[in-house]
């Protein structure tokens, strides 16, 4: 029934040794994450829909305007990836805002709390969605989309009697995918972690309208800081969080992904902002778990 849970590694930090539980924490986690995928099907439907729309447009363009045939550049490939990742990011934001609010609104929290799953496990399983599941999912969809683009471009080139060698030579497909995976896991997962943490905390706490509670306080802080001190440190901090760490050796003006991908793993993991962000995310998540314990259905 659940072979995949058996192959999951045992988490060493869980206190399974002390608590005589029949069901290991990893298995509870696995089923909690599956539960999220059952409830929020937009997690995979939205990126798939974005990919489908893009492919449709790309194929239409390919067949209608022969002028493009001779310049199958990297641009549409990056654009496809950006579109799918952007969709996944937006899904992640709305998911995080609803994850702990929706269960209180429809009172199903009383059902979830009648089961031996802790508040922390629940919060962590919901955090897993934007942190790991959505990035991996959008990566897989983006790679398949790009592959379909590459194949159809080749087919069109072949059909018009041109050599596909140049296209395949220019496109280092494997390298592009690897960079995409690196970008998506580091930036969309780790770097944005405090954003998801904040949204989950608001979702656990908000008496109503979590969207407003999530986005209004930053505005207020920015406004107060601007009026009181005439500074914009908070806004700069938010911008830094959204745009990601900048490598010192690249010129400004490139696309966001260029800059981020240019960061070597050593540079990325030695950025203090990453660790500050992860610590902040941990605080937000601990608070969310605690708030969930106190909150009753709305």
């Amino acid at each position: 029934m659940n072979t995949s849970s058996n192959v999951m590694p045992e988490s060493p930090q869980k206190s399974q040794v002390i608590v005589p539980a029949v069901i290991p924490a990893t298995r509870r986690m696995y089923w909690s994450v599956r539960r999220e995928l059952w409830e929020y099907r937009s997690i995979y439907i939205a990126p798939l829909a974005a990919a489908a729309v893009f492919l449709l447009a790309f194929l239409t363009g390919l067949t209608l305007s022969p002028a493009h045939r001779h310049e199958p550049l990297d641009i549409p490939y990056e654009f496809a990836a950006a579109l799918i990742m952007g969709t996944a990011f937006i899904v992640g934001i709305f998911y995080s805002l609803d994850a702990l609010y929706g269960e209180r609104r429809d009172r199903s929290t009383l059902f979830w709390k009648s089961l031996p799953v802790s508040d922390l496990t629940t919060v962590l399983s919901k955090f897993t969605i934007p942190l790991i599941i959505l990035p991996l999912l959008s990566f897989a969809i983006a790679v398949v989309t790009q592959f379909v683009m590459l194949l159809s471009s080749s087919a069109v080139l072949l059909g018009s009697g041109l050599s596909v060698g140049m296209l395949w030579a220019r496109m280092s497909f494997f390298h592009m995918s690897l960079m995409l995976l690196y970008h998506i896991l580091t930036v969309h997962g780790l770097w944005y972690a405090p954003i998801y943490g904040w949204l989950l905390l608001v979702s656990a706490w908000a008496p109503r309208a979590p969207f407003i509670w999530a986005f209004l306080p930053p505005f207020v802080i920015w406004g107060v800081e601007k009026i009181a001190f005439n500074t914009s440190h908070f806004l700069a901090m938010l911008q830094y969080r959204l745009t990601g760490p900048q490598p010192s050796n690249t010129a400004p003006g490139g696309t966001l992904m260029d800059m981020l991908s240019a960061l070597t793993p050593v540079q990325f993991f030695s950025t203090p902002g990453l660790w500050i962000g992860l610590a902040t995310a941990a605080i937000f998540l601990a608070a969310a778990a605690r708030v969930r314990r106190y909150r009753e259905p709305i």
Binding site: M1, N2, S5, V19, A21, V22, I23, R27, R28, Y30, W31, S32, R34, R35, W38, E39, E103, D106, R107, S108, T109, L110, F111, K113, S114, L115, P116, V117, S118, R293, Y294, E296
Partner: protein
């Protein structure tokens, strides 16, 4: 062994005191009915027992503190809350898969067996089921969990009479085995009268009556008094009197059965009638059965 033990359990929301220092001892293997008017504090007390709300005072459920040890406690405790709380998007097979995945005491085959007796389809979503079917599904899930304490808060609210009857029948026949404990609140007291082993009335956050059903049956007697003997009957200090079809029905607490038999037809009162008597006296002038 004690299943639930509370000393001075108290819970206030702002200035409103929902549970006002109750003491409670529920032995294992009992079926306790918690009866009270709306806003009496039943659900709040149950929420405290289930670890859903913080409280003041001492409370131990199966030897654990429910607020700090909810996760561990929920391996041995099940509950059905006052209204349908099964997530509406969930499909029946998903509920089975999920419970089998996270609950160490869930017996999937047992749940499938219970569901086989209903018309519930495995692929149906909860939102597609009727109210009665949702209750059946929830009961099937809960009964397949080998729990030591089952808490039911208005489990049959809004169900038609067939489902209600069926609900308690399957609970008694397929689930209760004298080693488990069941705590149930309901307004349909006539339906649980034959089910309960213990009875508790709660009003304004306090326990106003707490007895076993044997005690209830030996203590309280209701007499349809012959018209000419009403004055004599009243002299025995009934705790409640009501008129039905022009005849007086008097409710007595701890009055000798032989003595009452001389005054008219004697029978055991319904829980509902005792409830009206006890709570009527609470708010009225006299203080009768409350102890």
């Amino acid at each position: 062994m004690l299943c639930i033990e509370a000393h001075g359990l108290r819970k206030a929301f702002g200035t409103t005191v929902a549970v006002d220092g109750i003491n409670l001892r529920v032995e294992e293997g009992r079926i306790l009915g918690l009866i009270g008017p709306n806003g009496a504090g039943k659900t709040t007390a149950l929420n405290a027992i289930l670890g859903l709300t913080p409280y003041q005072g001492e409370l131990k459920v199966l030897g654990r503190d429910p607020w700090t040890e909810r996760e561990q406690l929920m391996r041995d405790v099940c509950f059905i809350a006052d209204i349908a709380v099964l997530p509406r998007w969930m499909r029946v097979w998903q509920a089975l898969d999920y419970l089998a995945g996270v609950h160490p005491r869930f017996d999937r085959a047992k749940a499938e067996g219970f569901l086989a007796k209903t018309t519930i389809k495995r692929a149906s979503k909860v939102r597609e089921l009727s109210k009665g079917m949702v209750a059946q599904l929830h009961l099937a899930l809960v009964m397949a969990i080998d729990a030591r304490l089952l808490v039911l808060d208005e489990p049959t609210l809004g169900l038609d009479i067939l489902y209600r009857k069926q609900f308690y029948d399957s609970l008694l026949n397929d689930y209760f085995d004298r080693s488990r404990t069941i705590v149930v609140t309901t307004h349909q007291v006539e339906e649980v009268q034959d089910v309960l082993t213990d009875l508790m009335f709660i009003n304004r956050g306090r326990i106003v009556l707490n007895c076993s059903m044997e005690e209830f049956e030996s203590r309280y007697l209701e007499v349809m008094v012959n018209p000419e003997q009403v004055a004599a009957a009243r002299a025995l200090k009934p705790i409640h009197e009501r008129q039905v079809f022009g005849r007086s029905i008097l409710l007595f607490d701890r009055v000798d059965r032989q003595q009452l038999a001389a005054l008219g037809d004697v029978r055991t009162p319904s829980i509902a009638d005792l409830f009206v008597a006890v709570l009527g006296n609470q708010s009225g002038t006299t203080q009768g059965a409350a102890r």
